[in-house]
């Protein structure tokens, strides 16, 4: 994930159910928060990553049409948010990080109330409120006043109110904030189910990389209001420079020369060789679809065979999303 890796795709066409953002610029009281963001998103699970204050929540608010843009255009589900934000919001669900429950109401009352405000008939809203509260696991607690809910229950309630009107897109702002590990896992399971099995588009804003890895198919990385990159989350590595751990015995000089011919950087750590290969140079894939580590493994095996170097161990050192994210943000 460096400068040569896929950048955002402003020109990509997306279906009407998707999101298209072009040159989005926004400032709070003259302080720029988002700077010229452009991207096109299909309806799928998308992670919005970035350090605190990078503009993640503001971007979601722009997608909801809650704030007037300084410049640029946002189209969500076929609606221009500068013109018909209200109509678009009937198809959008929003789970805010802070607050998000109205004290004095029961869980089912609040969910049905917000359903009605989304344009549902009262009876449908109440019926649907029961259904989504069952779905998020609050069936037994639905008649309790929501200010008495635990943090985990409040997060579930917020998810339920975002789902009650059956939106096409779900915007989730730090949905696992303040949850214990078990609660976190169950919320992530719900979100993953919605995105992967139920066809909802999900934008998950978080700074927890593990949440994104668990749920999302791709990520957008924001820093200081700028969209740094857009990546797919899959098993393939996104960085062409990959590190292999090699251990063996034999003609070390010849093996080293063979690796040099591949353009590898080699470090020795006692008996282990740390071999850094540039897969881009070896033709192991491309920036858009990721790099196949098998190409690097094959190249090292070939050099070892040619130089009579007996390998005891050869494995790629995994590059986690966290490593890539931090390297990108710190860069």
């Amino acid at each position: 994930m460096d400068g040569s890796v896929s950048k955002v795709n402003p020109a990509t066409t997306v279906p009407d159910s998707g999101i298209r953002v072009s040159d989005l610029t926004f400032a709070y009281a003259r302080r720029p928060v988002l700077k010229g963001i452009s991207c096109a998103l299909e309806r799928r699970a998308i992670g919005l990553l970035g350090p605190n204050g990078s503009g993640k929540t503001t971007l979601l608010r722009c997608l909801l049409g809650q704030v007037p843009l300084s410049r640029g255009q946002v189209r969500v589900a076929g609606h221009d948010m500068a013109v018909s934000a209200r109509r678009a919001r009937a198809r959008l669900g929003w789970m805010p990080e802070r607050g998000g429950v109205i004290p004095g109401m029961s869980g089912v009352g609040l969910t049905a109330y917000l359903g009605e405000l989304s344009g549902m008939p009262a009876r449908d809203a109440m019926q649907r409120a029961h259904e989504v509260l069952h779905y998020v696991g609050l069936a037994d607690e639905r008649y309790r006043r929501c200010e008495d809910y635990s943090q985990g229950m409040k997060q579930r309630l917020k998810l339920a109110q975002a789902l009650v009107h059956d939106p096409q897109w779900l915007f989730l702002d730090e949905p696992t904030s303040g949850l214990d590990p078990q609660g976190r896992v169950s919320i992530l399971e719900l979100i993953r189910d919605l995105a992967w099995n139920k066809g909802l588009g999900v934008i998950l804003s978080t700074h927890l990389l593990a949440d994104v890895e668990a749920v999302c198919r791709e990520i957008l990385v924001l820093k200081d209001g700028v969209l740094l990159t857009r990546e797919k989350v899959d098993g393939k590595a996104r960085d062409p420079r990959q590190v292999f751990e090699v251990e063996g015995f034999g003609n070390e000089e010849a093996f080293r020369s063979g690796l040099d011919r591949l353009g590898a950087q080699v470090l020795r750590d006692n008996r282990v060789w740390l071999v850094t290969l540039d897969l881009d140079r070896l033709g192991g894939g491309d920036a858009g679809s990721g790099f196949d580590a098998g190409v690097g493994t094959g190249a090292i095996l070939k050099v070892a065979a040619e130089t009579d170097f007996a390998l005891r161990r050869l494995r790629r050192r995994p590059v986690t999303l966290a490593e890539e994210f931090y390297r990108l943000v710190e860069a």
Partner: protein
């Protein structure tokens, strides 16, 4: 069993009637306070003056003392009597609206409810309209609805003496006056509510606005200065009411001044609401 095994299903609309967003907000805003028994008791107490006045009307009409009733004074059934009755309700207007209206926006701001509301397909007008309707409803509960009851009583007791005016013209006068004053008062109270996040502070500001300005006007009047009567908040509405009921002005300031003050308060309230009520709080 993972919770999602219950399954998520897509909504199939039944084709039922959809209420406008402001009405949904108003319905909830009215029904929630009515669940409190002590608030119902307060509303009942607000009807005591109407019941007393109704009793007086009944006995006087029955006793044939019509001349007294058609004259001036609180107990009369003429326009002056009705405006006097509405003036007399100001204590209940002050208390009931403070209880019901103080938290309407403040609570939403405190709990980040505005973000929730404006993630739905509703506009600022829907939101404010719904909240204002709550205040107007409770305002009507202690002003307009008792007036209707009195009109009906007077007509039923002595239809010949009171004539169709009591069934048509007087309710129309009361409705027009209560609508104008109620909407303006509601916007001012909502503006106060939008300035804070705690109801108690809003109540304090509301008390200063209503009783504080009345006290200033009273003290100034006692000292012989009539100009300061223009700051009396509820007094200006009663003064303007003299136009609706075709009676003498209630204050020593002209009705035009009262109208001007009311317009200024209402415009300021709208400005404050436009600035304060938005889904995102801007800290500059």
């Amino acid at each position: 069993m993972p919770v999602y095994d219950r399954g998520y299903t897509h909504w199939q609309p039944s084709g039922g009637t959809t209420l406008p967003a402001w009405l949904v907000i108003a319905r909830r805003g009215v029904s929630e306070p009515l669940k409190r028994r002590w608030l119902l008791l307060l509303i009942l107490m607000a009807w005591v003056p109407a019941i007393v006045k109704g009793g007086i009307i009944y006995f006087k009409l029955k006793a044939g003392d019509l001349a007294d009733l058609l004259g001036g004074g609180w107990a009369s059934i003429g326009p002056d009597g009705f405006l006097s009755f509405l003036e007399g309700q100001r204590f209940f207007v002050f208390v009931l609206l403070a209880i019901v209206g103080a938290g309407l926006i403040a609570a939403d701001r405190r709990d980040n409810g505005l973000s929730l509301y404006f993630s739905r397909p509703l506009s600022l007008v829907d939101y404010l309209g719904g909240k204002a309707a709550v205040i107007v409803f409770f305002y009507f509960m202690v002003t307009l609805f008792p007036s209707y009851a009195l009109c009906l009583l007077a007509y039923l007791v002595a239809p010949g003496a009171t004539g169709p005016d009591m069934l048509l013209l007087m309710p129309l006068r009361a409705t027009a006056y209560c609508l104008v004053s109620g909407m303006s008062i509601a916007l001012v109270l909502l503006a106060f509510s939008s300035l804070g996040k705690r109801s108690i502070f809003v109540m304090v500001w509301w008390a200063i606005m209503v009783t504080g300005t009345e006290a200033i006007a009273a003290v100034a009047g006692g000292l012989g200065s009539t100009g300061l009567q223009a700051v009396n908040f509820l007094g200006q509405y009663h003064n303007l009411g003299s136009v609706f009921f075709s009676t003498e002005p209630r204050l020593e300031v002209s009705v035009t001044v009262s109208l001007g003050m009311i317009l200024v308060w209402t415009a300021l309230a709208l400005l404050v609401l436009r600035r304060q009520v938005r889904p995102v709080e801007v800290v500059s």
